[in-house]
Each structure stands twice: as structure tokens, then as C-alpha cells.
Amino acid sequence: MNRQADNRQLQINILRYNPQDPDSLPRMQLYEIEEADNMTLFMVLTEIREQQDPSLQFDFVCRAGICGSCGMLINGRPGLACRTLTKNMGEKVTLAPLPTFELIADLSVNTGMWMRAMSEHLETWLHNNEELDVDKLEQRMEPELAEQIYELDRCIECGCCVAACGTLQMNDKFIGAVGLNKVARFRLDPRDQRDDADYFELVGDDNGIFGCMSLLGCNDLCPKDLPLQTQIAFLRRKMMLMGLKGSRKHSSN
């Protein structure tokens, strides 16, 4: 990176804590680093670890904004560190791990475990028990529908919506916008044989669609600009209709 005499000195204040280490206590630690052109927080943290503090823990995989590994609180707001440019921020930057998730150490949290549990709970895979013959022509799909499904399929499970969720602060069983969006995605997909009664079983309660308080931090902070607000509203309406009709299980009670 090219350095200039007039480059800013950034002050990076990081919440440090290593639960694996019995002597570690949560604390803020300040690092100073000279800014470079087009510097991202990925570059900042890598340089701090290489030059100043080899123990600093964080997660970057793709460093291109597509893998969802580097969600963290950047000046208090959840975001992807790898594509956050320092030039868009002041000289003082505060970094902390995403809340809600299990802390691994420093800026690293266990989003993978949370997301797997969510996927198992909501069964976020296509449900279809037709026999498939891979030698035959594929089932047709309207081109526009395929594009609409992809629009919802773009979620990268970074956890920013989970960290930004007011409901989750009060109810840790809430499935979050990430889960609701996935239900909306499979509901839209005609290849999935589940119907609204099935989805009602999954999300028709206060841990699902009716738990959302519509604070919509998820919608404001989703790095992929997923249409979470409209999807949650739409799903709520459909699930309410289903609830009024009575789901299969409830109607038999």
C-alpha cells in the first residue's frame, strides 16, 4: 500500500475478550494505524495482526463481500468488515463482535452453529419427493420466477440481521429475518411441495413470523439489500390467513 505524508492516523478501538483463556477479561484495546488508499477494515485488521498484535482474532474468508464471514459491529452497526472502506469513516473506529452469537474470541463469533440450528429447525431445503431422473429434461420454470427466487436466495447468512434484531434481544428463540426470508424463498418455489399449513407449523407463532416487532433493523442493515421488510410483511399476511383458517394440526385439536 502506498503511504502519503498526509495520511490519516486511524484509531481502531477493539473489544477484546478470549473466553478460552481463563485470564482474559473483556476490555477495549486501542490500535493506531496509518491509513492507505482504498483501505478496508480487512486490510486494517490484517495489518494490526501482522505488525502489532498476533493474538487478535477475527474471521475473513473471501474478503470480497460474498461469503458472510466478517460480520461485526462497526461503530455500533452490524456490517461486513471486508468491504467497509476507512475513507468513509472518521479517524476513530470502534469494532466489536456481533451480539447474539456465541463468542469465539475478539471479533470472531460462531455464526455457523446458529445458522445450522436455524436451518435444521426450519428445514431450509427443498421438499420434494418425486423420483428424479437426471437423464431427462429438467422441469420448466418461468424465467421471471427463477429470478425472483434468486432475489431471496442471495442471503449470505452473515448474521447482520440477527445482530440488528430488536426481537432477538428479548427472545433468543426468534428465528430472525434470515429464517423468515428462507421460508419466503421456499414458499415462492413451486418445486417445494410444502404448503402454507406446513409453513404455519414452522413459523406460525411468536418465535416465528408473529414475534417480529417490525423494528426492521434487519432491512436497514442487510449487506445484500434483501427485501426483508416486504417479505416479512407478506409472509405475516399469508400466515395470518392460514391461522384464521386453522392449520392442520390446530384444526384437529
Partner: protein, 660 residues
């Protein structure tokens, strides 16, 4: 000492490993997947542009079939590929796309009627047939004669990885995240599993398995400028090398992608050029037709990357304080197309360059992108040296890419290899050959050895620092073992890498804790990466010809007479400072497509003595079979079908050529 037993141990949670795991699980075996990161964060997610499969639905794919995909792939490989494996691949790829469609991948679809496209920067109208409406469509990619690349906008790998990953969850296959394989447990003939380190607690566990499958991806991070994810450090290939018996094939075959954004090295997809984008120089002149009149921007990646660097050397690059670059122009495609089909590209440009590719040019320069080489396997995916050790995906040298991989063939290889090799792994588990007779005390010895090595690193107060060594290695590789290679530079690289390797035994750490210790991790990884770098540089030094992505300025011709062979690198003694190289001949007399001109790139090559005879033999055979169907002719030229699991031998149905 903790020991876990399973039937199938898959190391690597990307597409190849996940798909292989599903295959074995469906056959009734107990399967466990280990991954450095949550599997949905694997580098498979970064495949943007698409996956090649000869579905032939779109009007520009009309007439496409396995034969043409086969020829394109072999020409792309510069005849380095194993042609039987390419045949296995092209027959299975359409099945893979269709399976993924049934699992939920929202492939872009054909829309009947007229649509505007850009070909070579110029607008053209295409009319898609009514009968193809709603089937999976395709875009153009480099080095192909048909539009064959199935895609999901420019998030193909993302949709594929999420779909397959969710299928793994649906099949109740456990994925143990944030763990790293440290060594393979073996006796020189049989692989019994791996010693695995928990990256959070630092704890070592032995996983003992009938089958161990390495699906650990590529090793692009031995280079300074790479499109690869940070985790692509090749540790899986390195620990296979460290068995002393397993061989790494064609490690010098490294692909450089033409369009990485400059200077960050982040990929923008070949789909940009496939969809009609152009490469421009500092005068905004479209230079590729000057060099490559046949395929222009859509020659194979090795050729385009080389022409770009050549053009920069001739003084036509755009000068900046970070060095020189060229431009990628996709402005003619328009906002609607870019927002729909190249939206990740647009996001990357906006976030990392602060530009909008709808109206502005994208600064690009080739960067390391793919490792054609890897753990050498048979067509079944099994190592010839270690029974029970399998490899698939980028980690493997299966070898369908030879010396240059076509765009759209890697993400395709991941799932296709997973399907095929997963079946072979299950077959192996079903056979008596898979019985294991290793004692727990022998397993414990492997754990103890690894523990000792970590303990000595943790207590070392050596004077070298891992980040310094890593940086020096990466710089060396990019500067001296890059797109243009020569004896002088390669010799220097090998010597300097050896010196770095020696220095790496004197790495000191500042902390003592094994738990969450990134400094410890980089210390043991850099030593292994250096071994891979030495395989690449030393293999490149010995290969005195130019083939595919391996280009020697001092030996600019492809030399089939002396070099139609695969490099095999092993590391028999841990004290060696260089790999041991051996060579595996490719048999021209058995080839379906003997070596010739690729249809783009250099026209001169040194012919193999058997090429002309084989070519004549093929022509005679085709004449004698005039009127026979293409399947019969293919079978007469090169038998491969028995190499495929019976499940995947079927003929692929297409519009217009119904198979019953």
C-alpha cells in the same frame, strides 16, 4: 486422546466434499465432514459466472453435446488432461445441473422470443424457440464453441453451495466446523483417517475412517495477488504430500484469471466478457482482436491473461501509482442487464473501487486464480499410492483440466466429481478392502507426534516471524513463478524458497496458548505452503516447454515430443528441501483427440511421434463408420463408459434429440 470413528471422513466443506458426502450417505454409510469454516463460507461460494453443461437449450447452444464439450475441454487443457476423465465429466455435467435444479438452484431460464445480446461489443438480436421456454439457459464463456455455461445471475457458486449445503443438512450429515486436518494417519500403503485440530480449543482429535476424502480446495494463497479466499492455502494437498507417498500432479499448472480488479485482486466474472464485455488499453483501444482474431476476448484464460500482460509490457497499460492495468468495459450491456446478470460485479465495483460499471470502466489485471494441479488420483478419485485416500475438486488432480481449465468447468467439476467419486467411496466402503486394522496405540502415536510438533512451536522463541516468511514467499511466487516464466527466474525462486523453508524452522511465537491462536496457525501453515510453492516452482523449472498456463519465455513452444506427461511430485523424506519429481506419460495412441492446434493461441508446437498415426487411425475409423451415431463412433475411439458408476452412464436427453 480422543478418537472418533466413522465410515467416510470428508475433509473440506466446499461443493466437492459436500456432494461426495451426500453420495456416500445415501448409500448407507456413516459420513462426517470437517471444515475450516462454516461450509457455506467455503470458496465455492465465489464462483460467479456459471457451470458448463451441454444442455443445448438456448439458441446459441443449439447442437451442443458431450462431444463438443469434450473437445473444448481437451483443447483448453492444451492436451494435458486425462481424456477418459474428461469424458466422464462431460457426460455427468448435464445430470449435475438437472439434479441441482431439482434440489432448488434457481438457474436462469430461456425466455422464448427475441432478446438483445452483445457479441464482441456489438448488439445482436437472438430469437429463442418456444419449445425451449422455461428450460435452463446458458451464457458464453471463453474457449467454448457453444454457449454452454448455466448460471444463476453472477451468484452461481453461491446458489449451488447453499443448495448442496442444505441437502447435507437434510441428509443429517454432521459438519464439524472450525477444525483443521494436521496430518494423515497411514502406514505408507493404507490411509486410516486424519489427526484434526480444533481451531477454537486447540485440542487434537484422531478421526479414524475407512475412507478419507480430501476436498480441501486450491492453494492460491501461495501467491501475493490472487482471487482466492484467505483459506485457500492448500493445507490438504500439503498434508497428503507429507505422507511421503501420495503424489501431487502438475503443480506448476497455475491459472491466472484475466479480470481481477486492480489492485485488490478480487474476481469479476468471465461472464462479463461472455455477455459481451471488452478489454481496452490506455487508449481505450480494443486490443484482443489484434492478438487473437479467432476468439478475441473469449480465448481460453491462459491465452487472454498472457496477451494482456504482453500488451502491458508493450507500453499500453494504464499507469497508476500501484502499477499498470487494463480496462474491462461492460458499459454497453446497460443497467438492466448488469443489475440482473452481473449484480455481484456491480457491488464489488461499487464497494471496492467506488465506481459504477454501468457507466465507468473497470480496472483489471490478471491474478492467480486456480490450481489445476493437486492430489493425483485415479479416475475413481482414489490415490494410487494410499489405499482409502480419495480426493476431489480443486484439491485433486483428477485430471480433467490439464494445463488450463476452462471457465465454468471448475464449479462443474466440484459437483460432478462429488457425484462420481462419492459413489466410488461408497463402493470401497461396501467392499472387504475397506476393513481397518489399525490399533488405538498406533493412532495415539500419530496424535502424539502432532502434539509434540505443536508444543515445540509454542515453546519456540525463534527469531523468524511467520507473516514475514509468508509475505516473502507470496511476493516471490507472483514475481518469479507467474504468467511469464524463465529458467533464470525459476532458478532464483527455487533457491529463495529453499532458503525460506530453512528459515521457517526458526519461527518463534509470542504466546504460549494453543487455544484460538492465529499466530500458531500461520506458523505451522506457512511451512506447509512453502512445500507446495517448491513443488510449483521446481516443477515449472524442470518443464522446459510451454503448455496451457505454464509459459516459458525460453521454451515458447508446446513440446508434445518430450513433455506430453504429467508431473508427479512427492516428498519421501521429511528432511528433503526439494520435492522428488517423476513423470507420467500420456498415451497418444489411446487418445480420442490427439494433440493439435487449439483453435486459438500459438500455432507452433513440437509434434509427438505418434500423433499423426493416431490422427490417421481416427479418420479411417470415422470413415469406416460413416452413418453410425455419435455414441457408437465415440465408443470405438475411446472406451470410457465402464469408468463411470452405472448410475451416471445414461444418455442425456435434449430438446430435439430425444433419447429413450
Amino acid at each position: 486422546m480422543k478418537i472418533v470413528y466413522t465410515d467416510v471422513l470428508v475433509i473440506g466443506g466446499g461443493l466437492a466434499g459436500l456432494r461426495a458426502a451426500i453420495a456416500a450417505k445415501r448409500r448407507g454409510h456413516d459420513v462426517n465432514i470437517l471444515s475450516l469454516v462454516p461450509s457455506k463460507r467455503s470458496h465455492s461460494v465465489a464462483a460467479q459466472g456459471g457451470m458448463q453443461a451441454s444442455l443445448a437449450n438456448s439458441i446459441k447452444g443449439e447442437g451442443d453435446n458431450e462431444d463438443i464439450h469434450f473437445e473444448d475441454t481437451v483443447r483448453g487443457s492444451d492436451w494435458g488432461a486425462d481424456q477418459e476423465v474428461v469424458r466422464m465429466f462431460v457426460n455427468t455435467s448435464p445430470k449435475a445441473v438437472r439434479e441441482l435444479a431439482a434440489w432448488g438452484v434457481p438457474w436462469n431460464r430461456v425466455h422464448k422470443g427475441e432478446r438483445e445480446v452483445f457479441i464482441g461489443g456489438k448488439s445482436a438480436m437472438l430469437t429463442e424457440s418456444d419449445s425451449a421456454h422455461g428450460l435452463i439457459t446458458a451464457r458464453d464463456f471463453g474457449g467454448t464453441r457453444k454457449w454452454r455455461t448455466s448460471f444463476v445471475s453472477d451468484g452461481t457458486g453461491h446458489s449451488m453451495l447453499y443448495t448442496v449445503s442444505d441437502q447435507v443438512i437434510a441428509n443429517s450429515i454432521p459438519v464439524t466446523e472450525r477444525v483443521e486436518a494436521m496430518s494423515l494417519i497411514h502406514d505408507g500403503q493404507r490411509c486410516f483417517g486424519a489427526v484434526v485440530r480444533n481451531l477454537i480449543s486447540g485440542e487434537l482429535t484422531a478421526w479414524v475412517a475407512k475412507v478419507t476424502c480430501m476436498a480441501t480446495g486450491g492453494f492460491g494463497r501461495i501467491y501475493r495477488v490472487s482471487t482466492n479466499a484467505m483459506i485457500n492455502q492448500g493445507i490438504g494437498a500439503a498434508i497428503a504430500l507429507e505422507t511421503g507417498v501420495a503424489a501431487l500432479g502438475n503443480m506448476e499448472a497455475i491459472q491466472f484469471h484475466p479480470t481481477a480488479i486492480f489492485p485488490a485482486g478480487i474476481l469479476v466474472t468471465e461472464g462479463c466478457r461472455g455477455d459481451g464485455g471488452l478489454l481496452l488499453d490506455k487508449k481505450q483501444h480494443r486490443f484482443m482482436p489484434d492478438y487473437e482474431p479467432e476468439k478475441k476476448e473469449l480465448a481460453s484464460r491462459d491465452v487472454v491473461a498472457r496477451r494482456m500482460e504482453q500488451h502491458i509490457k508493450s507500453g499500453s497499460g494504464v499507469q497508476t501509482r500501484y502499477g499498470e492495468h487494463l480496462w474491462l468495459d461492460i458499459t454497453m450491456l446497460g443497467r438492466e442487464h448488469i443489475d440482473k446478470n452481473l449484480r455481484e460485479v456491480r457491488e464489488i465495483c461499487q464497494y471496492f473501487l467506488g465506481i459504477d460499471p454501468v457507466t465507468e470502466l473497470i480496472p483489471v489485471r490478471p491474478a492467480q486464480h486456480y490450481s489445476m494441479g493437486g492430489i493425483r488420483t485415479r479416475p475413481s478419485g482414489e490415490s494410487a499410492a494410499l489405499k482409502g485416500l480419495f480426493a476431489c475438486g480443486e484439491a485433486a488432480c483428477w485430471d480433467m483440466h490439464g494445463f488450463n481449465r476452462l471457465g465454468g468447468n471448475s464449479v462443474a467439476e466440484t459437483v460432478v466429481a462429488g457425484m462420481i467419486i462419492g459413489e466410488y467411496m461408497a463402493d470401497f466402503c461396501d467392499s472387504v478392502d475397506s476393513d481397518i486394522d489399525i490399533s488405538t496405540s498406533q493412532v495415539s502415536d500419530f496424535i502424539k507426534r502432532e502434539q509434540h510438533s505443536i508444543d515445540s512451536l509454542l515453546s519456540s522463541r525463534g527469531t523468524e516471524r511467520a507473516p514475514d516468511i509468508l509475505r516473502e514467499m507470496q511476493t516471490l511466487m507472483t514475481d518469479k513463478v507467474g504468467i511469464f516464466r524463465s529458467r533464470e527466474h525459476l532458478q532464483e525462486a527455487v533457491e529463495q524458497l529453499q532458503a525460506l523453508h530453512a528459515r521457517s524452522s526458526n519461527i518463534g511465537l509470542s504466546g504460549y496458548s494453543a487455544a484460538v491462536n492465529p499466530e500458531l496457525v500461520s506458523a505451522y501453515r506457512v511451512r506447509r505452503m512453502l512445500k507446495l510453492a517448491l513443488c510449483v516452482a521446481y516443477g515449472a523449472l524442470q518443464r522446459t516447454e510451454s503448455r496451457g498456463a505454464h509459459y516459458r519465455e525460453d521454451f515458447p513452444e508446446r513440446n508434445d515430443r518430450d513433455w506430453l506427461k504429467r508431473t508427479l511430485a512427492t516428498w519421501p523424506e521429511s528432511g528433503q528441501t526439494l520435492p522428488t519429481l517423476a513423470y507420467e506419460e500420456l498415451n497418444v495412441t489411446a487418445m480420442e483427440l490427439p494433440p493439435g492446434w487449439r483453435g486459438y493461441g500459438a500455432k507452433d508446437y513440437i509434434e509427438h511421434p505418434d500423433s499423426a498415426d493416431r490422427q490417421a487411425e481416427i479418420e479411417q475409423l470415422k470413415q469406416s463408420m460413416a452413418g453410425a451415431d455419435r455414441y457408437a463412433i465415440q465408443a470405438a475411439l475411446m472406451q470410457y463408459e465402464e469408468l463411470l458408476p452405472p448410475l451416471y452412464r445414461g444418455r442425456n436427453e435434449r430438446l430435439g434429440d430425444k433419447t429413450e
